[in-house]
């Protein structure tokens, strides 16, 4: 069988996996669309129905103090999941009508103080003469053998300032065609990495998907008897990634990472729409947000089905005005499911601890049960705390020292530099999230689920320097036969 082992990539694939079991905590109904007209092509137009939108499907976001350059923070965002290596001939381009954004909220208002925005354009030299991506070995990004390139521009957009172009029309590292065509992909990625004015660097590239989990966790939680674990379902697949490393001062409120060390981060994708109004000769319109991602697994495991569209369309500043969303954080469904299957009692509600982790950040001043000062913008000394609102963001305290020996369970194991204080590539967010939803606290795991999904790291190791993510896989995951 070919292609059959892949989990259904309908909308966000992780959502798809979840909805196999979490019948009440399901993903946006990507399949639910209009279709019309079997056998009636002459009488009306039938339109495509399956809303698989992988180019703008934002799967993961990471924010961490750079382990080898501790005065900087690295932000990584991934799109376009489940890329099968050898996926030619067109491979996996970024969308050219989209904004790929990483947003920073340093004041806790739920609004971006800073946005890094990548936009792409195609350089297609194939015409209609060939379908091939390359017609010879590609040793350099500028080799004429590379027939299809994507160029990107990176802008820095600060509230109240004109956008600044940090990188103009750089070439992105292409999809990895294979060893014969691209014998040294690492070289291509190095060439695609650009220095930023004022320090820092960025790259847009294909990469091995750094996320790791056993999707069977969501099949009645490991097949209903905790026995079927340990297979990294993502191993071998690639994603598109943008990464940026900048000085902490670039991110901190008023440029002062000492007094204002906490940032909230989320990524979002906007796509340009069109206007039907008569008389227009160009079919364009404003950009519309189509996906959004802060903390891992929140969209999948906490936001209920009926709110997912709203969640993806709205900015974090609107979260506290969505009472149903807040209610689901306070009373999540996953622990109830685990209780129904395994008899492990769900923690008492309302879950003020989850509100702190996902919506306010952890700080004594947040008024929650986690009486620790960890990663809320309320810890920033110079902000106007009256403007603070609960908002779903991935929060990082940039002053937490980089540890020499990171623990995959992060804060739960006493490693305060890991998730939910930011997110490092190696943080085992599935195991952490299940534990957190079950009420675990640092040093006190829920033992019945302590083994987690049995997948404790990625299929391909991370690298020691920027952008840390591994080079893309080149062997097909699903071999014929």
């Amino acid at each position: 069988m070919t292609l059959r082992r892949k989990p259904a990539a309908i909308g966000r694939w992780k959502s798809a996996a979840l909805l196999l079991a979490l019948s009440t905590a399901v993903a946006g109904a990507a399949l639910a669309g209009p279709g019309a007209g079997v056998g009636q092509a002459s009488s009306h137009r039938e339109a495509p129905l399956i809303a698989s939108d992988p180019q703008v499907d934002n799967t993961d976001l990471y924010a961490f103090s750079s382990p080898d350059k501790s005065d900087t923070v690295t932000l990584v965002a991934n799109w376009y999941p489940f890329q099968e290596p050898n996926g030619g001939p067109n491979f996996y381009p970024f969308a050219t009508d989209a904004h790929y954004d990483i947003n920073i909220d340093s004041q806790g208002t739920g609004k971006p103080d800073l946005t890094y925005r990548w936009t792409f354009r195609n350089e297609d030299r194939r015409d209609d003469k060939t379908f091939l991506y390359n017609n010879g070995v590609v040793n350099n990004l500028t080799d004429p053998t590379l027939l299809f390139r994507q160029h990107y521009t990176l802008q820095e957009i600060r509230a109240g300032h004109r956008p600044v172009t940090l990188v103009e029309d750089a070439i992105a590292a292409p999809s990895n065609v294979g060893k014969a065509s691209m014998p040294d992909y690492g070289r291509l990625r190095s060439q695609a990495t650009r220095q930023l004015p004022g320090g820092g660097r960025t790259v847009a590239s294909q990469a091995a998907d750094p996320f790791f989990l056993d999707l069977r966790i969501f099949d009645l939680l490991y097949g209903g008897n905790l026995s079927e674990t340990g297979h990294n379902t993502l191993n071998g697949y690639n994603v598109n990634t943008v990464a940026i490393q900048v000085p902490k001062s670039a991110l901190a409120y008023r440029g002062n990472a000492g007094r204002n060390p906490v940032i909230g981060v989320w990524s979002s994708t906007e796509r340009r729409t069109m206007r039907l109004s008569p008389g227009k000769s160009t079919a364009t319109g404003p950009y519309v947000q189509v996906s959004r991602l802060g903390n891992p697994l929140v969209n999948e495991a906490i936001v209920p089905a009926g709110l997912k569209n709203a969640f993806n369309a709205l900015p974090p500043s609107a979260d506290h005005d969505q009472p149903k969303l807040v209610a689901k954080v306070l009373d999540p469904e996953v622990p109830k499911l685990i209780q129904s299957i395994y008899g492990i009692p769900a923690p008492a509600t309302p879950r003020k601890d989850l509100q702190e982790i996902f919506l306010t950040g952890i700080a004594k001043a947040a008024g929650g049960p986690l009486a620790v000062d960890l990663n809320s913008q309320l810890l920033n000394k110079d902000i106007d705390k009256r403007r603070f609102v609960p908002a779903e963001e991935l929060r990082l305290n940039m002053s937490t020292p980089v540890t020499a020996s990171p623990n995959r369970l992060g804060v739960l194991s006493g490693d305060f530099q890991g998730f939910p204080n930011g997110r490092r590539l190696g943080d085992d967010v599935v195991d952490i999230a299940i534990q957190v939803l079950e009420g675990a606290t640092p040093g006190h795991l829920v033992q019945a689920l302590a083994a987690g999904d049995g997948v404790n790291g990625p299929g391909r190791p991370f690298t020691g320097g920027f952008p840390y993510i591994a080079l893309p896989f080149t062997n097909a995951v699903n071999q014929a036969g």
Binding site: L19, A32, Q40, D53, F82, L276, T282
Partner: protein, 467 residues
């Protein structure tokens, strides 16, 4: 339930085939066998589509590695793969309301691509099961019901379901697509445009851009329609969606009189998805326009063997008729009539297609009856045109003309529409208008039909002789 049509394998329904036409017999046997699968569908029975022997006509095949020019494969599955995944998940977890909703909608999509109406009852079973499991706030199932109703041409029902879905989740964009489809077919142009604009504003994507394109095309804005399709193509991720966009770029090219450009688009569609049979039939139509009739006949036959879509059967019959192969043409019309019965048995209300067929090749009075019924249900420009034409064929030209004018109310630049109007005007003795419209039809697309385009030329020559 369409139980009445279900017959054991090898015992096709009585048809009007000529005895020597064994190919068509076998083809219909396959369809009818597929219909047999629809009997007694409840619960898990709706999961058995791919497992039941002897199976329906081969649906969309999953492309193997390296066999196609798909725009992108990662993250985008074939509909068959999606259905298989959902079925597997629902076997393990049968109380998954969203899963049943998605399966119900996936069957409609599968039916669209495979032209297999027996999937509709399965779709309905799955959607109703979803609604039973989750009666409140089940936007996905409500939207699925709207899509299913559209597919069955129950457009008023579709609008009602879509309205419910919109009310359920104002941020969901999919219901606006179903709503747009229904309103367009109901002839509520203003509301249809609002729905598609709303969809575009919530979620610009292949699904919304393709709908925008159709709206623009119906308003005669073909250049902008092509731009919208190009944007849909840029965002398309599955081979089937790439093929859909290329196909309709081809349709736009053909309908504006550019068969060679059309052929190029159809071939790109087939390169993206070799199973996209609509483009094979499109190629046949373009080849016929370019004078390559042998190739056209071959391609039509291949297309129909794969997917016996009534439209292809009709086009093929008309091509054969235009080539003087009247007996073969009649055989195809017989296949068409049998198919219409099968569609009707699976809940598809299609008085429009049936009426169009009867007007041209059967009983014009029956056509008027069918199309009057359709007109009473909905006032789309397509129905206006078809009813006007049927009235003309039944000799009622005075009643026909106002409908032919109704058909022009959006400004759609369609050669056949204009030809119909011209012929009606000619019958009423308005030779000046007839000349203008027949010339306009040929100017819009000189290849618009192998039977009507030559007729338009003949009429025009005669009218110009009368000057």
């Amino acid at each position: 339930m369409p139980v009445r049509t279900c017959r054991p394998y090898g015992h096709p329904a009585p048809t009007t085939f000529e005895p020597e036409d064994t190919t068509s017999m076998r083809r219909l046997a396959l369809i009818v066998t597929a219909a047999a699968l629809c009997a007694g569908l409840t619960g898990f029975a709706v999961l058995e589509h791919t497992a039941d022997p002897p199976g329906p006509p081969a649906p969309l095949a999953a492309p193997g590695s390296g066999d196609s020019g798909s725009g992108a494969r990662g993250g985008a599955r074939t509909i068959d793969a999606v259905v298989a995944e959902l079925q597997a998940g629902l076997r393990r977890q049968p109380v998954d309301a969203p899963g049943w909703a998605q399966l119900g909608s996936a069957y409609v999509e599968q039916a669209r691509l495979a032209v297999d109406p027996t999937l509709y009852p399965k779709s309905e079973s799955a959607l109703r099961r979803s609604l039973a499991l989750q009666p409140q706030h089940n936007t996905a199932a409500l939207t699925g019901m709207a899509g299913l109703a559209n597919a069955r041409h129950r457009f008023a029902q579709a609008r009602t379901w879509a309205d419910k879905a919109v009310a359920d989740d104002p941020y969901a964009w999919q219901p606006y697509g179903a709503l747009n489809d229904a309103l367009t077919q109901l002839g509520d142009d203003r509301a249809a445009q609002d729905a598609v604009q709303h969809m575009l504003d919530l979620h610009p994507s292949t699904e919304s851009f393709t709908r925008a394109s159709y709206t623009l095309e119906l308003h005669g804005r073909t250049t902008e329609a092509a731009q919208a399709l190009q944007r849909a193509l840029d965002d398309a991720s599955s081979p089937a969606d790439v093929a859909f966009c290329q196909h309709y770029l081809g349709e736009l090219a053909f309908n504006t009189g550019h068969p060679q450009q059309a052929l190029d688009h159809y071939r790109r569609a087939l390169a993206a998805d070799p199973t996209y049979t609509a483009s094979l039939a499109g190629s046949a139509r373009a080849e016929a326009a370019l004078g390559r009739t042998d190739r056209a006949v071959t391609d039509y036959r291949t297309a129909i063997a794969r997917v016996p879509q009534p439209q292809y059967v009709l086009e093929y019959g008309e091509l054969l008729q235009s080539l003087g192969r009247v007996g073969e043409a009649r055989t195809e019309y017989g296949v068409l009539q049998a198919e219409q019965k099968l569609f009707a048995a699976n809940g598809v209300v299609d008085d429009l297609n049936l009426g169009q067929y009867q007007a041209d090749h059967g009983d014009p009075k029956l056509a008027v009856t069918l199309l009057t019924a359709e007109w009473n249900r909905r006032h789309s420009v397509l129905v206006a045109d078809a009813l006007g034409w049927a009235l003309h064929r039944a000799g009622r030209d005075a009643e026909a003309l106002p409908l032919a004018r109704q058909a022009d109310r959006l400004g759609w630049r369609d050669a056949l529409l204009r030809y119909h109007r011209g012929v009606i005007e000619q019958s009423l003795g308005d030779t000046a208008s007839a000349r203008t419209d027949l010339a306009g039809a040929l100017a819009a697309n000189p290849y618009f039909s192998p039977l009507r385009a030559p007729d338009a030329r003949t009429r025009l020559a005669r009218l110009q002789g009368q000057r």
